[in-house]
């Protein structure tokens, strides 16, 4: 995603585990940018938010786990 480590912080993380993963099974992971928005920081600057979601599905198409990651970058 070409992220700038100077200004980037990991703001939030969420995991949801629907069931245990079994040895030998194949999971298909899909990642998507779920949201992009900006907020005013308390110091007056602008913060850019990027929300990344990852979903893992089994052979039956059932979701096995879900992850949501919020990255925050201080705008230069």
């Amino acid at each position: 995603l070409n992220l700038n480590f100077m200004t980037l912080v990991h703001g939030e993380q969420e995991f949801e585990y629907r069931r245990p993963i079994q040895v030998g099974e194949t999971l298909a992971l899909t990642g998507r940018i779920a949201d992009i928005y900006e907020k005013q920081s308390s110091g007056g600057g602008i913060l850019d938010f990027v929300v990344l979601e990852t979903e893992a599905k089994d052979d039956q198409g059932d979701t096995v786990f879900f992850s949501r990651n919020v990255l925050i970058s201080r705008r230069a």
Partner: protein, 142 residues
């Protein structure tokens, strides 16, 4: 450390705490590559200073990992940790002692599961809360 007794758990109950640390720079040097996190802000003091910090600081996910261990301990099995969310509100520094704590906020039954909602957090030696979050434990109903 005893896990929660799912059939006798009440709102306001404390989760058994878990003490970690002190965090060392060596912990961070091992955690970054293990987690696949290449950010030098956790490894290189000069880089951290150039980004405006006094020194390197711990990966938020290291604290979340400690909270994960703490939740497994409270649940009695990794299979009973259903949902786990954390907000990386304040930074944790080398030398900090990290204690994971939590409290039950709701208990309800759903199908064959007893769902226990908790507030969880890490705090350091000063008592300041650093990483805060919520978790849902799902116990099989006896």
């Amino acid at each position: 450390m005893m896990a929660l007794d799912a059939m006798n758990v009440n709102v306001g109950d404390a989760l058994p705490e878990l003490a970690k640390g002190p965090i060392t720079r060596d912990d961070l040097k091992r955690y970054g590559p293990a987690a696949g996190d290449p950010n030098p802000i956790h490894l290189d003091d000069e880089f951290a200073k150039s980004a405006g910090h006094p020194s390197v600081f711990a990966h938020g996910m290291l604290s979340m990992g400690y909270l994960g261990q703490f939740l497994v301990q409270a649940a009695g099995s990794p299979m009973f940790v259903r949902k786990f969310r954390a907000r990386f509100g304040k930074l944790t520094w080398p030398g900090d002692m990290v204690t994971c704590r939590g409290m039950v906020t709701a208990v309800r039954d759903e199908g064959n599961a007893r769902l226990v909602e908790c507030d969880v957090w890490t705090e350091t030696q000063t008592g300041e809360r650093k990483v805060t979050g919520t978790a849902t434990l799902a116990f099989p109903r006896a």
